[in-house]
């Protein structure tokens, strides 16, 4: 402990001590009265807490940041004579199973046995799932005879079947062989990708619009039939009109489909052929390859460009390959929209409740009971809220809404199933205790003298609350909202029941009236993490995505919190300089 040495030295010198013979009774100091152990204890607790937080954040940030960096491709020659090529992912020591050990040559076995039965192995991402039926392969050190990083090995990211690794043998652009001509390849690849984008735009957006209109015609007819009967003259007239309209739409559909088919045909003419390390040859349309690079030849700048383009894809594109590749834009959008909606719902609800409890209700056993119940709500497992949300909001409330407002769509549910609105409401219910407690604290902290000042000026109770108490309590209320937001944005379990899906076909906001579709199911970063990490065909393939998505979710919550904190601090600044 600091100081002890110095004191001891002083004691050894003998000067500061009372002389012998004149000994005084030393007053014992109680351990509890001694501040230093308590300080060490508290500081230690803080250090442990900080270490855990920093460790977790560091792990996520590091793994998230390195995921998209292009790695070299290693070619490994095995003792059996086979050759494999892949990105080394990680190495570890493992206990070699007895039967494997038995089959090894004597000197290898002796080496392993000297190591207490352990050997090193490395995980390679070999890709070519369509050829090998696996994306990854463990290679033990004793299996490998040589490892090289030869030029010519190319890393291909495909739209389907994931990654491929091999040597490019032939590239054909619009029927012309351009193998080896870098500039021509780049131009052809760009053109093919642009055509692919156009096809998607036609299929998703423009044909989607036509389908939307056809569906509207159908629903309009159905509504009319429910309303005035299927054989009324009004219905028959509408049916004739609708048939002509649908025919028009059909013609427009045919034009668009032909346009798309034409583009697809042109894409057939641009292909890329590669040979994987084992000699199997495979051809792909150039339009179906997202990007490819010669991993062992490219320089730092090219690597950086690939790194950034992968981030851009991740942030702005839709997912592909069962969510393990591509982007997470719909999930970012869904998380953001839902959290915003959650705050919009929970803020008035929580604040009004707290206002009543603190300002209007007569303080007594009933209010205390309500308060205790509210506090205990925070301890109910989140999944219970999910069940409640599904049963009450989606089935009862939503079902009723469907019967009253959307009878023509039945039996397909509109609001009668999980959706954005119900998810936000469920999470609002989950987080409302936080807002109530924080708001009550904030209201209680407004000094009595300020309230009396307002009342003495002839303000009514509501005027006092609205003009003096609420503005003064606003920073505290904002703190509650920030906590609620952080909790709501990170919650997954209840969402699985009330509206989050693995892959949402449409965003909750689009160009169709009424533009904001609160009844739609949506994607969510938290659920995305669960889905990719634990529900995909190959958890190893999803692992990098899990880290990146987690990083993104934390960043999103961080940004939303920072925004809220800035708003709060602006409010707080108005109350600075208060001397009393």
């Amino acid at each position: 402990m600091p100081g002890t040495t110095a004191e001891k030295q002083l004691a050894d010198d003998g000067e500061a001590l009372p002389e012998r013979g004149r000994t005084r009774r030393e007053r014992a100091t109680d351990l509890a009265a001694n501040g230093e152990p308590a300080q060490w204890l508290l500081g230690g607790a803080l250090a442990v807490g900080l270490a855990m937080i920093v460790g977790l954040l560091g792990l996520i940030i590091w793994n998230g940041i390195v995921t998209f960096w292009p790695k070299p491709i290693e070619v490994v020659t095995l003792t059996t004579g086979a050759v494999i090529a892949g990105e080394p992912i990680r190495s570890e020591a493992y206990k070699v199973p007895a039967d494997t050990l038995a089959a090894l040559p004597v000197e290898t076995r002796a080496t392993i046995e000297r190591n207490a039965g352990f050997a090193n192995r490395t995980l390679y991402k070999v890709g070519n799932f369509d050829i090998y039926n696996d994306d990854f392969r463990w290679i033990s050190d004793f299996e490998a005879t040589a490892r090289t990083q030869p030029a010519g090995q190319v890393y291909l990211e495909r739209m389907e079947w994931g990654v491929a690794i091999g040597r490019i043998t032939k590239i054909i652009a619009d029927g012309r062989d351009v193998t080896g001509d870098r500039a021509a390849i780049a131009v052809a690849h760009d053109a093919a990708r642009r055509r692919w984008d156009t096809i998607r735009h036609i299929e998703r957006r423009r044909i989607g619009d036509i389908n939307h209109e056809i569906e509207r015609e159908r629903l309009g007819l159905r509504k009319l039939a429910l309303h005035s009967g299927g054989s009324s003259p009004a219905y028959e007239m509408a049916e004739r009109q609708s048939t002509t309209h649908i025919a028009e739409l059909g013609a427009r559909y045919a034009t668009l489909a032909a346009e798309a088919a034409d583009l697809k045909k042109r894409n057939e003419n641009s292909t890329l052929t590669f040979t994987e390390i084992g000699g199997v040859e495979k051809a792909h349309k150039l339009s179906e390859i997202v990007r490819f690079y010669a991993a062992n030849e490219i320089g730092l700048v090219a690597k950086l460009r690939i790194y950034l383009s992968r981030w851009a894809e991740f942030l702005t594109e839709e997912p592909r390959e069962a969510n393990t590749e591509g982007g997470v834009l719909p999930a970012i959008f869904g998380t953001f929209t839902m959290t915003l909606l959650l705050v919009v719902i929970v803020a008035p609800f929580g604040v009004i409740t707290a206002l009543y409890l603190r300002e209007y209700a007569r303080q007594g056993p009933l209010v205390s009971a309500v308060r205790i119940s509210v506090n205990n709500l925070a301890g109910v497992p989140a999944i219970v809220y999910g069940v409640f949300g599904l049963g009450f909001f989606a089935y009862i409330l939503g079902g009723t809404i469907d019967q009253i407002f959307f009878p023509e769509r039945l039996p397909n549910p509109t609001f009668g199933t999980g959706g954005l609105l119900w998810a936000a409401l469920t999470l609002a219910l989950l987080t409302v205790p936080v807002v109530i407690v924080a708001t009550e604290e904030a209201l209680a902290s407004v000094p009595r003298s300020t309230r009396e000042g307002a009342l003495a000026c002839g303000a009514s109770k509501w005027q006092m609350i609205q003009r003096i108490v609420l503005p003064r309590a606003m920073p505290g209320i904002m703190t509650g909202l920030i906590l609620a937001m952080a909790r709501g944005a990170g919650e997954v379990a209840p969402l699985m029941l009330v509206g989050v899906v693995k892959l949402a076909p449409e965003l909750p906001i689009d160009h169709h009236f009424p533009y904001i579709h609160l009844e739609r199911s949506f994607m969510h970063l938290g659920f995305h993490i669960y889905d990719v990490g634990f529900q995909s065909r190959n958890s190893e393939a999803g692992k990098p995505m899990v880290f990146v998505t987690t990083l993104l979710l934390i960043a999103l919550i961080f940004v939303m919190n920072i925004t809220a904190i800035m708003v709060r601090n602006r409010l707080k600044r108005r109350f600075q300089g208060a001397t009393f």
């Binding site: 303080q363 000094p447 003298s449 300020t450 009396e452 000042g453 307002a454 009342l455 003495a456 000026c457 002839g458 303000a459 009514s460 005027q463 003009r467 003096i468 503005p471 003064r472 108005r574 109350f575 600075q576 300089g577 208060a578 001397t579 009393f580």
Partner: protein
């Protein structure tokens, strides 16, 4: 005149200064906090347009009495009153009375300055804001008039839009006085307005009270006997919830009837 009785059942009254008639009439007024009685049989008439100070040791009920006058005590749970308290002849505790309208006829200044967390100008015009006044000229005129009335205008006229919380303690208290007079009240209630201020700020507030005299009926609760002597026309001495002696300030300080009053004003107890 010699002070004889130590603990009277009846209040000793003197002739009060002021010919203008009564503003407040308190008769037989009792008050209980739950089971505990805090005021006993208060009978007094407060003169219009003059300064009346209420003095007495801590816990004697002087603040309680003052806070009854604009029914600020309504906020206290378990409060009960009996007897009558009338402003200009009408009972303010009568059932059905509009408490908010009543409070608008009075301004109140508290022990600690309690400016609102808003700009200086907004603080002053708060009473008008709650009345829904939107006319800019009226608001600006009121701001200037009230701040001049509180002798604060020259100090703050260039920073009316700044937060009131940036003012010094004395300035804040004068701002609170400006706020209290902005609504053009009949009565000013002051609950130890200088207890949180330094001597210089205190003397400014006292000068201000002198200037305000005549325009408003001022009732001031104070701990400070010199202050009561300096600013008030009439003085009431309270002890343990009873009104002990009441009369013009000169008499209370120089020739009280009761020994307890004399002991208190001369500083022998309290």
């Amino acid at each position: 005149m010699t002070a004889t009785t130590l603990s009277p059942d009846k209040t000793a009254y003197h002739v009060q200064a002021g010919p203008d008639g009564e503003s407040f009439t308190v008769a037989d007024f009792n008050l209980w906090y739950g089971a505990k009685q805090a005021l006993f049989d208060i009978d007094m008439k407060l003169q219009r347009g003059l300064v009346t100070s209420i003095i007495g040791p801590s816990g004697c009920g002087k603040s309680t009495l003052l806070r009854c006058m604009n029914r600020m005590n309504d906020l206290v749970e378990g409060l009960r009153v009996s007897g009558s308290m009338a402003l200009d002849g009408s009972d303010i505790y009568a059932p059905g009375i509009d408490v908010i309208a009543l409070r608008k006829r009075m301004g109140m200044v508290f022990q600690k300055p309690n400016p609102f967390p808003m700009s200086i100008a907004e603080n002053v015009i708060f009473p008008l804001r709650v009345d829904g006044v939107r006319d800019k000229t009226i608001l600006e005129e009121t701001t200037e008039r009230a701040l001049r009335g509180a002798a604060l205008w020259d100090e703050v006229k260039d920073r009316l839009k700044e937060s009131a919380l940036g003012l010094s303690g004395g300035q804040q208290q004068r701002l609170c006085i400006a706020r209290a007079v902005a609504g053009d009240p009949e009565v000013l209630l002051m609950d130890e307005p200088c207890s949180a201020l330094d001597p210089i700020a205190t003397s400014r507030i006292e000068e201000l009270i002198d200037e305000l005299k005549g325009r408003y009926t001022i009732i001031i609760v104070t701990h400070n006997m010199q202050q009561a002597g300096r600013v008030s026309d009439n003085t009431a001495f309270m002890y343990l919830g009873r009104l002990i002696e009441y009369g013009d300030t000169q008499t209370i300080f120089t020739g009280p009837k009761l020994r307890r009053t004399q002991d208190y004003v001369t500083g022998r107890f309290g």
